[in-house]
């Protein structure tokens, strides 16, 4: 009885965890309402900022009041929360909430003047998207996850359409909408298979079941091929559905057209936010946030899929970017390529061997991906911010020719753009370099340590895998070199050529704050990566997140089932 009462209270208490999201949604509703009153545009922006501030306060309250799920109390309570609650408060979730709020602020400032007459709706959509990102972080079962993903997607459709209604933006918005719902369909299909295979919607439970079953299935005598085939289908569908969001090949086709057609702040949002939620969802669903044991949920095939996707995504993104003269299309392909780099971290994670002290070094791959996500956000939002700031006064800066001579006409803007371009290339002292270095070193670190207790075949296999992932790092490095060409071409245009039609002087705009913050972040993450890497590493400690599985000594067999 007592247990049940505690449980009920605990389960009911999950509402408290949603306080920041609630604040944001309420504020969004308010903004939708206020939008009908045709207030001066800055009012909406201010209201949005105020509500973001309120959400931050709410987050602090939650952080103080609500314990992390792993520390909630006795084991029974922990298990109950973990395997029954729709949302749980985990360190990784907290990380994503923080990331969401910062992104929200950056995007609100960037899109301050957007939306024309529908500015209120614009900002409301931004708030809803922010709520969605933070909800994705805490989602604990499939329904909540789906809800959160849609909470991001649907306002995005609106957001793409609202700012200025031109044929190009209409086309882009529609393309995005159609392809997005298509990919959501794929995702739901995968979810349905997962439910069918495991009988539960709870994500930790699903992951553990898959892991256990895969572990058993690794023993040929007890193989259950049809079951593993179905798991594979489910996982591939999920990867496909989420692959749309993260612009992985072959789900990336929408990116260049949509980025080109919509307004620059909307393109900035598209370049970053879906990647965040996509990778967050991937991390949860594929078992990357647990221990090495949960990574077995992937089986033997999905890591191969990830390897191929990473390689192909990087390469295609960079190869096609070489031909682009339209800056937004160029940045779109560049974002495709960067998604490829981030996938390296995920591809590598299942292969990194854990150290005997139980700290899953597989997390090294995940850490690298999350670090690169943050670094990528700073540099891409910054690049789009530069384009947006230059595009005022009715003249949009779209092509490379518009950037020509920027070094003389707008030296500080050119300097900021240089910084972002250098970071995108991966020059040391910028965030891009730190991220790439982490990712490549993780790839090269596969099976590089001493592997104890392995038989000869296992050792040979391990060496073979090490080589394969070395190739992945090599492909990454070659791609970084190829990418340098089109970024440097922009640098050259800015500094080495004379302006044909100089860009007029800038207006003061809150977007400058976004630009400034992005510059600071790019430099800081480049020079002191620990500032971002540290929180990521703390957030990914095993056992604190989606799974209660403890590290099994000696290998994938011998799992400790939760009580």
């Amino acid at each position: 009885m007592e247990l049940h009462a505690n449980l009920a209270a605990a389960l009911g208490g999950f509402v408290w965890q949603l306080l920041p999201e609630t604040v944001l949604c309420l504020a969004a509703c308010l903004l939708f309402l206020a939008g009908t009153f045709r207030l001066p545009r800055t009012m909406y922006g201010i209201l949005a900022l105020v509500s973001l501030a309120g959400a931050m306060l709410a987050l602090i309250v939650v952080w103080r009041r609500v314990p992390f799920v792993a520390e909630a109390g006795e084991a029974d309570l922990v298990n109950a929360l973990r395997y029954a609650a729709p949302v749980t408060f985990t360190p990784l979730g907290l990380l994503f909430k923080n990331l969401a709020l910062i992104t929200g602020v950056l995007l609100v400032l960037l899109g301050w003047d957007e939306g024309g007459e529908s500015s209120g709706e614009y900002h409301a959509c931004l708030l809803l998207i922010t709520a969605g990102i933070s909800l994705v972080g805490s989602a604990n079962d499939l329904l909540t996850l789906f809800l959160a993903l849609e909470l991001v997607s649907i306002p995005t459709y609106l957001l793409l359409y609202l700012p200025h209604v031109t044929p190009a933006s209409q086309e882009s918005a529609l393309k995005y909408f159609l392809l997005s719902i298509f990919s959501t369909g794929l995702l739901l299909f995968g979810f349905s298979y997962l439910y069918g295979l495991t009988g539960t919607l709870n994500i930790p439970r699903i992951v553990e079941t898959l892991a256990a079953a895969q572990a058993v299935g690794l023993n040929p005598a007890e193989a259950s091929a049809p079951w593993r085939g179905l798991v594979l289908v489910a996982l591939v569908m999920i990867v496909a559905g989420l692959g749309f969001k993260i612009t992985a090949v072959p789900f990336h086709f929408y990116a260049p057209d949509v980025y080109q057609g919509v307004s620059t702040p909307a393109a900035a949002l598209l370049a970053f936010v879906p990647k965040v939620v996509g990778f967050a969802a991937l991390l949860k669903l594929l078992g990357f946030t647990g221990t090495d044991a949960t990574l077995n949920a992937l089986g033997t095939q999905v890591p191969v899929l990830l390897w191929i996707m990473a390689a192909v995504t990087m390469t295609l993104g960079n190869l096609l970017a070489l031909w682009q003269s339209n800056l937004k299309r160029l940045l779109a392909y560049s974002s495709v390529a960067h998604a490829g780099y981030m996938l390296i971290g995920l591809a590598v994670a299942p292969r990194l061997v854990a150290t005997p002290d139980g700290i899953g070094s597989a997390l090294g791959g995940v850490e690298a991906t999350l670090f690169y996500l943050g670094a990528y956000g700073a540099m891409t939002l910054g690049a789009f911010a530069v384009l947006h700031l230059l595009s005022q006064n009715g003249r949009s800066v779209e092509t490379e020719d518009d950037l020509v001579g920027l070094g003389k006409t707008h030296p500080r803007m050119a300097l900021a753009m240089t910084l972002f371009l250098l970071s995108l290339i991966g020059i040391p002292l910028t965030a891009g370099f730190a991220g790439k270095a982490l990712l490549f070193f993780e790839a090269l670190g596969v099976n590089s340590g001493k592997l104890e207790g392995l038989t000869k075949e296992q050792a040979a296999q391990a060496a073979e895998q090490a080589r394969l992932y070395g190739y992945l790092a090599l492909i990454g490095a070659i791609n970084a070199a190829i990418a340098a060409w089109y970024y440097l071409r922009l640098l050259g245009a800015m500094y080495l050529r004379e302006a044909i039609e100089p860009v007029p002087p800038l207006k003061q705009s809150p977007a400058l704050v976004t630009l400034g913050l992005c510059v600071v972040l790019t430099l800081t993450l480049g020079m002191v990566p620990g500032l971002w890497l540290g929180p990521i590493q703390k957030a990914l400690r095993p056992g604190f997140n989606s799974s209660g599985l403890t590290q099994a000594p000696g290998g994938p067999d011998g799992l400790v089932a939760p009580r």
């Binding site: 496909a240 095939q301 070489l322």
Partner: protein, 717 residues
């Protein structure tokens, strides 16, 4: 028998010295850096900083010298036979334990910045800093008004710093650092007027030729390290004496080290850079190419005596090359018309003498011979520094007065209008010629004595040494002759002054006027119609001349004469220098060879008399002789065509190779790279049509991709 090489005994007098050592290279270095950075600010006052720094270094050298001298003076009295030595380490640069140095070498590496002072070093320091200070003072007058005034003094200070470092090195690495430093500063100074193509070419030639030698030196150092496991002098030499290294190994190492010395000290076949180096300002010639840098090679071989002693074949090579250089240079100097070139060739010749002396230090003659030979060579280095610097500075004074004309065919009879310069030049000339009882006489005679002793050993190469003795005496005769030829041509005869002398004399800057060294035929051959009463140089230039003249006169007698007079033994140069670690200690003192002294005096006087005859009494005679000698005269005048030979044999093939490689690079490597760079573009073009803008196509592509993944992965289950 041989001195223990470790600084086992350091009388208390010497310990405070160790703290002073760092000042000697550092003070000029500081001046160099300051002048380099603040040159545009200090401009006219640059010379103060330089002179002060070098002067301070000299003072510190004296402070270091005095206790050392005291220690040596009492060396054998207390039954203590260990030569004093002060070593101070400053910074352990590279330290690798034995066995970990890689390359399968058992030796470790312990290279640090360590300075040492022993008798040899102290002597070198005194000489270098004293002469350099005088020359810096002189340059204040000579270089007055030159746009690169500060740069000049920065380079000179840097040079002195590097030279000090070189002689104070305690290990081969610091030696090499100083070695390279003097090479660099020499390059900067030879090419000081870099806008003049001949000067730039000369600087480059000097640098490249000495570089060849430097490579040899570096290889030699590596061999020594490989063989002995250390790079510190004392340890290396001790290990060498223990034996165990094969003859060929030692021979190669010794010859490689000598190659470095031959490069820096311009011995055949690496001598070609020194005459061209006269393109630099005359104080530079005085400092670098008379007194200091070219003596670095002699110092190196003297320092490495323990190595050379073990390889008589290497000694013989050194002697032969030295002797050959001496006579070759003397033959060329006979016909030159550029006063500075005459002095340059005479430097070559005298350096040859020094190496001839060093090459006589064979063990076959016992430790006395080793000691005699090395001390003789070093003594000649010492005296030569003074009188050659004097001669160059006097020549510079002539140039200064004559408006930068140095072709002896354009002026004569200058003793009437430049009395002080004339007097000091005469002193220098007499000393160079080996006039009895002057310093040059004593030092040259000691070398001749060493060669003679070497030829009497009756062992390996004794007959070669005899031949070299004959060559040396002939060279002494030639030296006297060409020196006084130059003297009489310049200062005797009717007074003739070139027109430039009247224009440029005064306060005008020397700027780009550094030209006209006698080989240009295009300048206007015009004499001054109304020569002035005096073309003498200002006091700032003549005072150093006088000081050097006094030293040139006296120092030889002062230091060598009392050698046999045991009563005043303390002042003897030889007595001081022979107390250098590495030289045999317990050798009997040298007895003078009266016959040799008479012979060398005789040939010197003969040479002077012949020059007087040909250039004062019968001025038409040289022309007739030149015509009758025909080819020989041409050979001498054109430096035996060695430069042209080198050009054909070395320079042209290298240029051809460079061209070939450049073409290969342009058309081979670059083309390949460009092809590789277009590959991604081409690939991108292949995939471009996929992006056709149709949303149906996009959706189809997504599904197709998905299907491919599914099929591939499920199949491989």
């Amino acid at each position: 028998m041989f001195s223990p090489l470790f600084a086992a005994s350091e009388p208390d007098l010497l310990t405070p010295l160790a703290g002073l050592l760092w000042l000697i290279p550092t003070l000029p270095l500081l001046a160099a850096v300051l002048l380099a950075l603040l040159g545009s600010v200090v401009r006219q006052w640059s010379h103060w900083l330089s002179v002060a720094a070098i002067g301070a270094a000299f003072v510190v050298s004296v402070l270091v010298f005095v206790p050392l001298y005291g220690a040596i003076h009492t060396l054998h009295e207390d039954g203590n036979h260990v030569p004093p030595l002060v070593v101070q380490s400053y910074y352990p640069w590279i330290q690798v334990e034995p066995g970990k140095a890689g390359l399968g070498l058992g030796a470790g590496v312990d290279i640090g910045l360590a300075l040492r002072v022993d008798a040899l070093t102290a002597m070198m320091l005194l000489m270098i800093n004293f002469i350099a200070a005088l020359i810096a003072l002189y340059s204040a007058g000579y270089m007055h008004g030159d746009p690169g005034y500060a740069r000049f003094f920065a380079a000179v200070s840097g040079f002195v710093a590097a030279m000090n470092l070189l002689v104070m090195a305690d290990n081969f690495v610091v030696l090499y650092a100083g070695w390279e430093g003097v090479g660099l500063c020499s390059y900067l100074l030879i090419g000081f007027w870099y806008s003049k193509p001949t000067a730039a070419d000369a600087a480059r030639k000097a640098f490249l030729v000495t570089r060849l030698g430097d490579v040899g030196l570096f290889l030699g150092i590596l061999m020594l390290w490989y063989g002995t496991g250390s790079l510190t002098y004392d340890v290396v030499f001790a290990k060498l004496q223990e034996g165990g290294l094969s003859e060929p190994f030692l021979l190669t190492a010794a010859l490689l080290v000598f190659a470095g010395a031959a490069g820096k000290s311009a011995q055949f076949p690496l001598h070609v850079w020194l005459p061209d180096a006269m393109e630099g300002p005359t104080p530079v010639s005085a400092l670098i190419h008379a007194a200091t840098m070219v003596t670095a090679g002699v110092y190196l071989v003297a320092r490495c005596t323990p190595l050379f002693m073990l390889v008589p074949a290497a000694q013989l090579t050194v002697a032969v090359l030295g002797g050959f250089t001496a006579i070759l240079a003397a033959l060329i100097a006979l016909t030159q018309s550029d006063l500075k070139r005459v002095l340059a060739y005479s430097t070559l010749s005298q350096l040859g003498y020094m190496f001839l002396g060093l090459g006589c230090a064979t063990m076959a003659g016992g430790p006395e011979l080793v000691k005699l030979a090395v001390v003789a060579a070093v003594f000649h280095l010492f005296t030569h520094a003074f009188f050659k610097a004097l001669l160059f500075l006097a020549a510079g004074s002539v140039m200064h007065g004559m408006g930068h004309v140095i072709d002896m065919q354009r002026f004569s009879g200058l003793r009437q209008v430049m009395p002080l310069t004339h007097a000091t030049f005469l002193v220098g000339a007499l000393t160079l010629a080996g006039f009895p009882l002057l310093s040059g006489f004593w030092s040259k005679d000691e070398i001749l004595a060493a060669v003679q002793q070497a030829s009497e050993t009756g062992s390996y190469g004794a007959s070669t040494y005899f031949l070299l003795l004959v060559l040396a005496i002939v060279t002494a005769f030639l030296t006297a002759f060409y020196t006084f030829r130059a003297y009489f041509l310049t200062f005797w005869g009717p007074l003739r002054v070139p027109a430039e002398a009247d224009h440029a004399h005064g306060e005008q800057g020397h700027g780009d006027h550094g030209h006209g060294h006698g080989h240009e035929k295009k300048h206007i051959e015009r004499d001054s119609a109304h020569p002035k009463a005096s073309y003498e140089s200002p006091a700032v230039m003549t005072v150093p001349l006088v000081v050097l003249a006094v030293f040139a006169l006296g120092v030889g007698a002062l230091l060598a004469g009392p050698h046999t007079l045991k009563a005043v033994k303390g002042l003897s140069f030889a007595h001081f220098v022979e107390a250098t670690p590495g030289l045999p200690t317990d050798a009997a003192p040298h007895q003078y060879n009266l016959n040799l002294m008479l012979l060398s005096s005789g040939v010197a006087l003969l040479g002077i008399a012949l020059a007087y005859l040909l250039y004062v009494v019968q001025p038409s005679l040289p022309g007739q002789l030149a015509r009758s000698l025909g080819v020989l005269y041409q050979l001498s005048r054109d430096k035996f065509y060695l430069d042209e030979l080198y050009h054909i044999v070395f320079v042209l093939p290298l240029q051809g190779l460079a061209q070939l490689l450049a073409t290969l690079d342009r058309h081979g490597v670059d083309a390949t790279l460009r092809a590789a760079a277009t590959a991604p573009h081409w690939l991108g073009q292949v995939f471009r049509p996929m992006q056709n803008g149709l949303v149906q196509f996009y959706a189809l592509a997504m599904v197709l991709g998905l299907t491919v993944f599914l099929l591939a992965l499920v199949r491989s289950l």
